[in-house]
Structures are given as structure tokens and as C-alpha cells.
Symmetry: C2
Subunit: 345 residues, 2 copies
DNA sequence: CTGAAAGCGCTAACAA
DNA sequence: TTGTTAGCGCTTTCAG
């Protein structure tokens, strides 16, 4: 079938913006072009080749919005990071951002795009529902429960394709992926005590569920093994954290001999302040962190910490979410953390 | 005007999924509902209130896809991170991910959503064009030029709303925001030399433009001041980097007395390896990093480094992009890096 | 294997 | 101030 294209390679057409434009050039209907480009149905091989060739020549890409609207699915997964107490909360950011990188890779590999939001629940009560019902995403991954456990629970009742990174609590309704924080706390306290510490401090805000569980685990062990432990809340802005830790240590470094930091980031600050005070680690003060960020191995002395496998976590989140997208009711995935003994305890 | 709603609060309707459903309940037309919900035109206050009330009661959210399709704009900015040489390139990830966090905040503040992609140019030649022309984003931010300078240049000719984080090269066509890497390299080398080093090594791959410029700046200074400098390429996977640095140092630590690490992340590895070798820093070896990541102040000794202001960078990227979205042809924004003297040099 | 036709849900002229 | 109308660009029955 003769078309202008065939007759004259230099034939100039208006830019091909729609499937209909392309159809006209190819001398077929829009439906056929759609099918051919989708690679999907049974389109005549010759027809398909021709359509593909023309598409290539005109550098044509179908409009995704139209496609998504029509098909009622977006191919986009929302990833939302609730910033709990403070806009400035950056303390777990390194961890979350690393997780995010893995999520991006994992989702890409499965053919999904990723839409990212950082939200401040205090300023926007409706943060989760708004995102879910925006019509722009097929499912949502929540990175960190922050102090929003209840809100997440409410949503979980009516919305299947959601998976949350965080802590698991007996009987909860939302599907969560995360380390067993309580166990992690136990491992940390056990290690501190095994290294000779008896008077422990937990450095970190116990408001967020994950941190609370870490503290609870440490408490279990301390109680059982006849050691003491107190929680020392730190605020979440990086600069204040350093100062608060410094102030605490200045007054209390004789009272305690072991510190369990709620995160590696806190542990780094802590290590620094200890060194400023001239305290030998681990001789005078034992220290255990949580996360095992890549740099944990780089401090001096290298940080003993509780390892969360970030890549495995990302994989789990995506895997569970895709199954939920298929209507499956999945269980939570609790990953055992692992004690990594280096030199601070 | 009486509607079922008004007559009986318990009246049960089918779920309100579309603006038309809502219009029927409110007894107005879809157009009016659209206007009312957009808050935009001059809709009668009473009518608006009624519509808003019903929307709230039925928990209605307009479908974004439909809206976007119709309005031909998405309200979404694409952020793409090209992973240059290696899927495993994680070495600048900490920096990029921190930048990403700031971008998310900055874009949210301006009412945009953020769509994230990490791509591997080697596997997908068409990575940038595909994203831009996907119809899903209004503009694009490219985080890092990687080794894709030329491809970005090509795109820049035909596509205005793109801003790139990276290095500026004389006469380039794409709009870039970034530190003056060459100046940063100079500052680093000057500091090393001022601290007494004469035989320098640059640790890092000089393939990526930003790193190449840092090296070039250091070379300028070394040449001018009668010092030597050699580039020691490291690969980009974190585990190999450590080993490579170790191998290099094992053989060469007597040959050199100053190291300029292409990034703080590399500097951390380097510091660790030096300590393993029992070399005193800065006495036997001076070290300067680049980026000033938050943890740079936490190492022991604290890292002397070249500071890039990440928050200001994010702000600049978004600001320029939004102006380009308005059709403005913006200049690049080159931010002066700053030497932060701590204790490694 | 292909074409015709009917929307997906919303917005924006244009009238009234 | 509101209703009517005509699509945005694509996909998918349903016929042929």
C-alpha cells in the first residue's frame, strides 16, 4: 500500500505526536498501531515492522498519561518518607536514603517507576491517604513509621497495596518489612555486657517505634543480666544531637560504661564526643550502634554495630508490594539483624 | 434545590468516583464541580461550599491522570541519576542521595512531585530522551553527568526544562548547577602543599567530568608550586575501592606524602587503610577530601575537605528548572566550594 | 488480523 | 455564575 513515506523518503510531514498521526502515515488504524507498539496482540509481522520503523524514524513515543488513564493503572509506585517530629529529622536519613537507592533499582528492574515524597505529618494529617488516592500511583511504600503507626494502621484496613518499612508489633494490621528491632536491641545489650559494661545508656529518642523496640530489647537483657540501662533522648537535628550527647557525656561519663546508640549516625556523633573528652573506646566506654552503614567500618575504632541488610530489605519491600498488587494478602517480613563485632565493644 | 443528600442524611449512594458522580449529587454540572474543586474561577460561594462539603463527606479526590492528560502538564519533575561505569557505583551515592533528599523537600515546597530514576546508560543508550518524552514529567533534573556529557549536550539543544548537577565546561550548552570543581581541586592541592606535602596523589577515577576537573585544578597548583601529582584511578565499587587503595598505599606510601581524595567517601576508605598501615595522619600523610559530608567532621582525625553546599545546590537546581519551565533561558550556576580545615591536612 | 467506535475522568472554551 | 460541548491520546471490546 503506497503512502507518502514510501514514495519519497524526503517527504516532510508534520511531527508525529500521536498514535493517530503515525497510523495515517502507516496507512493503518490507530488501534493497529497501538497493538503493534504494545508488542502485544497478534499483529501481522510485516505491519508491525513497518509501524515500528516509522515510529523509529519519527522518534515517536506514545503519551503515557493517556495510556495510564485508559488502562487505569500507572506503573508507578509511590515511596513516602514521613518526617516525624521535625522537618529537620536527618538522623536516620542516611539509612533511609540508602534504602531508597536500592528501592529505585529494585523497582526499575521490575518495570515500575518511583514517585518520591517526603511529608511532614504534623503539617498534613492526610499525607498518606492523599498520596494513595492521588490516582498517580498503583501502590505505596512507606519508609519508616515515624510516629504515625496509628494512621498507617487505619489506612491498611482499606488499602491492600501498601508495604511499610519499620517495626513489627504483635497483631498489627499493616504489612511491614524490617529488622527485628527488639532482637537487635538484645544483641546490642548482650554485647555491651559481654564486653564488660554494667551501667548502660541508650542514646536516642524512644518515640519512634523502631527505636522504642531497640530500647525495649536492650532493657530485657539488662534486667535479666543485672545491668542497668537508662534512655537518654536526643533530638533529631544533627547539630543539636552532637551538643546533647556532649552535654550528657560531660555530666555522666563516670556513671556509665556502655552506650547503645539508636543508630549508627548517633553512634558516630557519640564516638566523636567521647574522643573529645579523651575517653578511650572501648577501654573506658563501650559503644554499639545500629544499622551498619557503609562507613561504620571506617571509623576509628571501627564501630561494633547491629547490621540491617538494606538490600534485602528493599527486595522484600518490593516483592511483597508486587504480590499485594496482585491481590495477595501477604505476611510481614521480619529480618533477623546481626551483631557485627568490630572494635568499639 | 432538593437532592437525595439533603432529604436524608443516611441516604446511601454508589461511591463517588468521578466529578460527574459528585455533580449529580450536588445537583450541578461537572464543569462547576471542577471549577469549585480547583478553587479557581468565580464560583458562587454557596455552591462551592456545598460541593466541598459533599466531596469531603464522600472522601472524593479527582483523578490526577485525567487532569494531567487534559491539561497537558503533569506537575511532576523527573530526577534521574545516571550510574556511569558500573551498576555498583555507590561511591558518590551518599552525596547524591543527600542532594536528593533536599530536592524532594524543595520540589514539594513548590508544589511539584518527584519521579526518581536510576539508569545505566551503558544498558540504555536512550535513557534521557526516553524519560523526557515519556509524557510523565514536565521537566528533568539530572544528578551527575557521569560519563554522559555529550548525550546531555545533545538533548539540551532541543529541550529547555532540564538542569544538570555537575561540572561546568567552557561553552557547554546545558544548564548546570554545581561546585567549581577545578577551584575545589586547587584549594585541596594548595592546602596539602601548605601543610608540607610535595609528592601528591589524586585518588579517584578521572573519567567522570567532575572528578577530572578536581584533578585538573590540583594539577594546576602542583605544577605551579613545584610539587608532583599523579592520578590513581580507583574503581567505583565500595569493596574494591578499599582494596585498591590498600594495594596502592602498600606499595607507594613512601613515595607520596599527600593525598587528595576525589570524594569524602574515598577519603574515608583511605583514612582507614592508612591507619591499618600504621601511618600517622597528618604527620606522615596529609589527606584532603571533597564534599564535606556530615560524617566528615566525625572521623578521627576529623577530615579536612572541600565543602559543597548541598542545600544551596538543591535550591539552585529547582529554582533554575522552574524558571526554564516558564520559558526563560537560564545561565548555569557555579558555586564556589570552600576549604574546611580540620585535622587531616 | 484489522478497523470502527466508545470511552478512561477531567478541563476549558464558549454560550447562556 | 453555570451548563454544554468537545476533546486530551490512548486502549479495547466488538465486528468483520
Amino acid at each position: 500500500m503506497a503512502t507518502p513515506e514510501d514514495q519519497d523518503p524526503n517527504y516532510v510531514t508534520a511531527p508525529v505526536r500521536t498514535i493517530a498521526d503515525l497510523a495515517k502515515i502507516a496507512g493503518v488504524s490507530a488501534g493497529t498501531v497501538s497493538r503493534a507498539l504494545a508488542g502485544n496482540s497478534l499483529v501481522n509481522a510485516k505491519t508491525r515492522e513497518k509501524i515500528e520503523r516509522i515510529a523509529r524514524e519519527h522518534d515517536f513515543r506514545p503519551n503515557q498519561m493517556a495510556s495510564k488513564l485508559r488502562r487505569q493503572k500507572t506503573g508507578v509506585i509511590g515511596v513516602v518518607i514521613p518526617l516525624g517530629h521535625d522537618r529537620q529529622q536527618q538522623i536516620s536519613d542516611t539509612f533511609f536514603m540508602t534504602l531508597l537507592g536500592h528501592l529505585a533499582d529494585e523497582l526499575t528492574a521490575r518495570g515500575y517507576d518511583l514517585m518520591l515524597r517526603r511529608v511532614i505529618p504534623q503539617q498534613d494529617k492526610d499525607w498518606l491517604d492523599r498520596f494513595i488516592r492521588s490516582g498517580m500511583i498503583d501502590g505505596v511504600l512507606v519508609i519508616g513509621q515515624s510516629n504515625q503507626f496509628e494512621r498507617i494502621e487505619e489506612i491498611a484496613d482499606g488499602y491492600l497495596p501498601m508495604v511499610v518499612w519499620g517495626n513489627h508489633k504483635e497483631g498489627q494490621r499493616h504489612c511491614v518489612v524490617g529488622a527485628d528491632n527488639r532482637l537487635g536491641g538484645k544483641l546490642a545489650a548482650e554485647r555491651l555486657i559481654a564486653a564488660g559494661a554494667r551501667r548502660l545508656a541508650f542514646l536516642g529518642d524512644t518515640g519512634p517505634f523502631e527505636f522504642a523496640a531497640r530500647f525495649a530489647g536492650a532493657q530485657d537483657v539488662a534486667t535479666r543480666m543485672g545491668a542497668s540501662i537508662e534512655a537518654v533522648p536526643t533530638h533529631l537535628t544533627p547539630d543539636r544531637t552532637g551538643k546533647e550527647i556532649a552535654a550528657f557525656l560531660a555530666e555522666n561519663h563516670d556513671e556509665i560504661d556502655g552506650i547503645f546508640a539508636a543508630s549508627d549516625t548517633i553512634a558516630f556523633s557519640c564516638l566523636r564526643e567521647l574522643q573529645k573528652l579523651g575517653m578511650a573506646v572501648p577501654e573506658q566506654m563501650k559503644l554499639v550502634g545500629f544499622d551498619d552503614l557503609p562507613i561504620a567500618a571506617q571509623t576509628l575504632p571501627p564501630l561494633t554495630t547491629i547490621r540491617q541488610d538494606i538490600a534485602a530489605g528493599a527486595h522484600g519491600l518490593v516483592d511483597l508490594l508486587l504480590r499485594r498488587l496482585n491481590g495477595e494478602e501477604t505476611e510481614s517480613l521480619i529480618m533477623p539483624p546481626r551483631l557485627v563485632i568490630r572494635e568499639t565493644a
